[in-house]
Each structure stands twice: as C-alpha cells, then as structure tokens.
C-alpha cells in the first residue's frame, strides 16, 4: 500500500530504508494508526524519518501526496462504499451525536464526492498543493467516513493541516557532510598513550606479580590509554568562503565536539594567514600569528581550511592583505612557509571542487602543503597524511 509514497519520500531526499518501510506496513497491519490520518501522519513520521531536519520535506511530501493527489483511488472507493452503508452511519451518529446534528449525511456524501472530483481536476494541472484554504467539510466535521478519523477529538488538527503548517522548516539544512561523518573521520586521528591516574587494572602484570609473590595477590594498576593528538584548526572566514560557511561550520563543530583530542585550538583568517589570526569568526579578536606559532609546539596537527583563491598579490606581496587592518610586512606566502617549517604535520583542506584547483594561488599553496578536498574521502586521506 502507498508504495509511491515511499518513493516520493525518497525523491524529496529523506533516506527512508526498506526496513523502515516494512516496519510501517507491520504497524498498519496491526492497525496502529487507529484508522486516523492524523495518527498515521505521526506514526509514519516516527517510523520513517529519524532526523528533525527532514521533517519539513516529510510535511511537504505528505501534503503533496495526501492532498494534491487526494487519497489513493482504492482508499477513496472504500470511503464511498463505507459511507453508503447505513449501518456505519448509525455507528457514527451514535459516536458523535453532536457533530451530526443538523447535518444531512447524504448531502455530506454528495459534497464529498464532488470535492473529490473537483480536487482531482483542479490539481491535475500541476499546481502543487496550493490552496490551504481547502478544508473540506469532512476535515472540519472531524470524521472521515472510512473510519479514517481526521482531527476530531484527537487533537483538533487535520493531519494535512499539521503537515502544511511546515513547523519544521527552520530545522532543515541540506548539508553534504554531516557532523557524524566528520567525527568518524577525525576519530582516526589518534595516537594512544597511557596517561593520567592509575585506575585501570593491569591484568597481565597482576598475574605476573602475584605469581612471583607466591600466590599472594598483588594488584597492579596503570593509567588508561588516552589520545595524545593535539589539533589546531585554521579556517578561512573570508568573502569567497561564504558559500562554504555551512560546511566549515560543520567541520568546526565536529572537531570541537570530538572530545578525544588532547587539545584542540582553532583560529580564523581572511584569505591567507598574515601577521595576525583571529579567535572569532567575525575577525575581531586578533592574536599575533608569531605568538600562535610560538605557543603551539611542533607536534600539533595543523589543518588549514580555505579555498586558496585570492589575487596573486595577496599571497606574494608585502602589505598585500585585502583587509586594511591586517597588513603585514611579510607576504602571506612567507607565513605559510613558516607554518610549514614549524609544524611536523600540516595539511590544507579545500572546499572547492578539485576541478577548480588550477588557480595560480591554489597551485602555489599546493606546493607548500598537501591539499585535500573537503569531502569525506578527502578528509579520510587528510587524516592519514596527518598521522
């Protein structure tokens, strides 16, 4: 049932798996939707969509599928058949006496059929689900004749209205790399050594000592293994990086949240690294680059993120920096070379597609540092190069 809804969800970019789809079928078999479209809306969402960032797509797909196309033909026929059976009507009347006061059910059915016809014709023109005003008398009366309860006592909302509210619009972010993928990649960046308080039982050593002790137990403890890797991240926050701001943000938050580094430092710069770098993305709080280099020892793994695209003079001329307030006696390229000399491991991540790495400055920087694309694969390779 509803197979095309499954494909619609996948088409709008929600990663619904077949397993989840089968779970939904299972739930429907068990009547867990209580025959209510509203309950179905929530249930299907809970089973199929596991991240709030997809809720908006889900809402749109749901509204499109269940309104624009109206109900699938089979269900619609079932609705009509059901309504024609007087026994069912009686049940409805008993259940909701207030609702049916003054409502002529035959008239209601006629209206419903008419509405169905109209909607089909009207919407076939390709207009996607415009017309939120189209609350049918059915939605309002809170009872859908096939036993599909739409609203009513459930919560006062029609499922479609809930879907069309698109409350989750702001949660949506179409990102290429997600935090988890980056975290997994960064996790490989480790160098485990024992460090800290002795609170881990060293079993081998304990057995050894105990044996030497003629069976008198001698417990040996040791410090647990801890990651010794220290990371410094330098991010370009300049104008040409604007399109990648989101991507860099994700990288930053993933690295920042990775609590397995021994130390994590981050700085921002504009186009190229000059005499000062900044500790905030607004480029207001500056620290002398020389001081940074002095304070970070050579074992820091340095990751520079930037598109390496600038005017050649910004890289090679003294006082070439584009920002008036960040002028520098040494040209940018000298600072980069100084980084390269100081740190043992240093790489450059470039968010630009590698096809566009033929700019003069990109090539020049590429000769100083190993450059990798800011993709999962690129990040994996970069991490390997850093170890």
């Amino acid at each position: 049932m509803f197979e095309d809804f499954f494909y619609l969800l996948r088409d709008v970019g929600i990663p619904v798996s077949f397993t989840e789809w089968m779970t939904l079928q299972d739930a429907l078999d068990k009547n867990l939707d209580n025959q209510s479209l509203l309950a179905f809306y929530y249930m299907a969402r809970s089973i199929l969509v596991k991240d709030i960032k997809y809720y908006d797509q889900y809402d749109q797909a749901f509204a499109f599928y269940f309104k624009d196309k109206t109900l699938p033909d089979k269900v619609r026929q079932q609705l009509l058949d059901w309504l024609k059976n007087p026994a069912n009507r009686r049940g409805l009347m008993q259940r909701f006496p207030d609702f049916f006061e003054g409502i002529d059910l035959d008239k209601l059915r006629e209206d419903f059929e008419k509405l169905m016809r109209e909607q089909k014709e009207r919407h076939d023109g390709g207009n996607r689900w415009i017309g939120t005003g189209g609350e049918s008398p059915f939605g309002n009366s809170g009872v859908n004749p096939a036993g599909i309860r739409v609203g009513g006592s459930g919560g006062g909302h029609m499922a479609l209205q809930v879907a069309m509210d698109r409350k989750f619009q702001n949660y949506r972010h179409d990102i290429v790399l997600d935090t988890r993928q980056i975290k997994v990649a960064l996790k490989k960046l480790r160098n485990l050594r024992r460090f800290g308080v002795d609170d881990e039982l060293d079993l081998d050593e304990t057995i050894d000592k105990t044996c030497k002790n003629c069976g008198d137990i001698d417990l040996v403890f040791r410090p647990p293994k801890k990651n010794q890797v220290k990371v410094a991240l330098f991010m370009d926050a300049g104008g040409s990086m604007e399109p990648f701001a989101n991507l860099v943000n994700v990288l930053f938050s993933a690295a920042h949240a990775s609590n397995h580094f021994k130390d994590f430092k981050y700085f921002f710069f504009h186009n190229c690294i000059y005499e000062y770098v900044f500790t905030d993305i607004q480029l207001e709080k500056k620290v002398p680059t020389a001081q940074v280099v002095r304070e970070l020892d050579k074992d820091y793994k340095v990751i520079i993120v930037g598109d390496a695209s600038m005017a050649p003079y910004e890289l090679t001329t003294a006082y070439g920096a584009i920002s008036y307030y960040n002028q520098s006696e040494s040209p940018g390229i000298e600072w980069l070379k100084r980084f390269e000399r100081h740190f043992k491991k240093i790489i450059w991540l470039n968010p630009l597609d590698a096809r566009y790495w033929n700019g003069w400055t990109t090539l020049a920087i590429g000769q100083i540092f190993k450059m990798f694309p800011l993709t999962i694969q690129g990040l994996d390779e970069a991490v390997k190069a850093l170890l």
Binding site: P15, S17, T19, E20, T23, D26, A27, K30, N31, L32, N34, Q35, L38, A39, Y42, M43, S46, I47, V49, K50, D51, I52, K53, Y55, W82, N88, G91, R95, A146, G147, R149, G154, G155, K167, D178, T179, R180, K183, V184, K187, L201, L203, T206, T210, G215, D216, I217, L219, N259
Partner: protein, 284 residues
C-alpha cells in the same frame, strides 16, 4: 469500523504527573506494540527522561535507568565480570571461586532482558557515549540476547522489554541504529499544554497567577540571543518559588521576581539587564 478495536493496544495514556500529547501517546504505543526502541529527542526540559518514568508508572513496570557517560561501554550494560573480587576471594577462600557465575554481575541491559516483561529500560543520553556505542548495542537490541563469554551462558529476553532512549545531540547516531528505532521529537509545549502541565504540579494554583507567570515565561523565551532558554522545569521551579514567597500578581506582571530561577547563565542575566526589550520590567 470500530475504533475501540485497538483498546488492548492503547495502553499508555500518560500518568497523573506527566502530560503526554495524544501523538506522543500513540507513538509510545506503536513502539511498544512493534517491539522497537523508542528514541526521544527534544529541547532540554521537555520531559524526555520523565517520559520513561511515566511509561513505567502508567504501565506498572519497574524502571531500569542506564545513564550513559562518555566512558560507558556497551558491554558494561550487558554484564561485568568482577575479576578483582574473584581474585580476592581466591586468597581468603570465602566463596567457591570455581563458580564463575557468582562473579558475573548483570548490567542494566542484562537485567532488563532477564525481567523483560516487567520493565521499562531507559537508556538516558545515548549521545554522551563514544560515537560507536550505539552500533555496539545493535546486535543485543536486535536479538534481545547476549552470551556471557566466561560462562557461555546466554541471557535471553523472553519478550521484548520496553526500551526508551533519549538523545540531545543533533545527528550523532549511526543510520543502522536509527533504522531500528521509532523516533519522536518532543516539541516545546504550547501555552495550552504548558498550562495543563503546570496544573498537574500545582493543582490549586490561582488562574491569574498562572496566567501572569505564563505570559512572562513565554515573553522571556521569545527574547532572541539567550544562550539557555528557560524550559518547563524552570517554569515549574519558578512558580513553586513564587507560591512559597507569596508574591502578588501585580509584582509578577511588573517585574521578574526571582529571575535567577528562570535564567541560570550569568551571560544571559547580563544580556537581559542591558537588553532594550526589558526596559519595561525590572529584573528584581
């Protein structure tokens, strides 16, 4: 079609100290019936953890809480083999050390499996653990069994226990794990629902005080730039303090008495003090 057909399925309807929205109630029941873990996310203070308490209470089951920390290992949840105790016993000979079984201590997951029909297992803040933690749990949660390596004994759940998992993080959980869960995002309660929640905790609260408090509370939440927006639990604490101190409605409307209960971050407090949005009501 009779809608009461599913009455035996519809079991969770909230408890007397917890208000669950109808859609949440339904999802809880869906998860229980399908035997899938229920993954709950939402703003802090929306009652993610309390939901598990409420399910346990409403269904008269024992709650087993597994608080996840950064050092938690999936295996610890199954069982712990207390080697040190055994080593120690071997020295004094108090126990029969050849019986390894007595040194196997079941973890929360293991306990929940043994008593599966009568428990609700809460795995709280799963995102706190190592990034691979959820993957390590997959097999156990799928098969509802694990083997104690030392004794070759298999701990198997006779039926699927109710499992509630809470998470704060954005997208930290692996897809394979997510596929097996039923997911629900608890939205911040709207005013009507919030009023219901407050009523549960303060049944005798006067209407005008409730109204004034709610108004101030939602005003505060609407202010942009707060690092930590006050949540349900803060509102409840605040109303509690206001009732105890006997502050009158007028004061609540004009000022923010005891704002420290609502705003807990120093930066937020400083921000509010300087904020133009706050000129009409004094902070203390």
């Amino acid at each position: 079609m009779d809608m009461t057909d599913n009455s035996e399925f519809n079991i969770f309807t909230g408890s007397d100290d917890y208000i669950a929205s109808p859609e949440l109630q339904n999802i809880v029941n869906v998860a229980i019936t399908l035997g899938k873990p229920l993954l709950i996310r939402g703003e802090p203070g929306t009652g993610k953890t309390k939901l598990a308490y409420s399910i346990a209470k409403a269904l008269d089951k024992r709650l087993i809480t597994w608080n996840i920390k950064s050092t938690t290992k999936a295996k610890d949840g199954c069982y712990i083999y207390d080697t040190v105790q055994r080593l120690n016993d071997s020295r004094f000979g108090d126990n029969d050390i050849s019986d390894i079984k007595q040194y196997i201590k079941l973890g929360q997951l293991g306990e929940a499996f043994v008593d599966a029909g009568n428990v609700v297992l809460l795995i709280d803040e799963i995102d706190k653990a190592d990034i691979e933690f959820p993957n390590d749990l997959l097999n156990e949660l799928d098969e509802m069994q694990f083997t104690v390596q030392e004794t070759k004994e298999t701990i198997q759940a006779p039926t699927r226990p109710i499992v509630v998992i809470t998470s704060n993080a954005e997208k930290e959980l692996p897809d394979a794990f997510l596929r097996r869960c039923i997911f629900f995002y608890i939205e911040f309660p709207d005013e009507k629902m919030m009023a219901d929640i407050v009523r549960v905790h303060f049944p005798d609260l006067e209407d005008n005080i409730l109204k004034a408090c709610m108004k101030k509370f939602y005003n505060l939440r609407d202010i942009k730039g707060l690092r930590k927006k006050p949540s349900t639990s803060e509102l409840l604490d605040w109303i509690g303090v206001i009732l105890k101190s006997g502050v009158d409605v007028d004061t609540i409307e004009k000022k923010y008495p005891f704002i420290g209960v609502l705003v807990k971050k120093e930066q937020d407090y400083a921000y509010l003090k300087s904020s133009s949005q706050f000129r009409d009501s004094k902070l203390e």
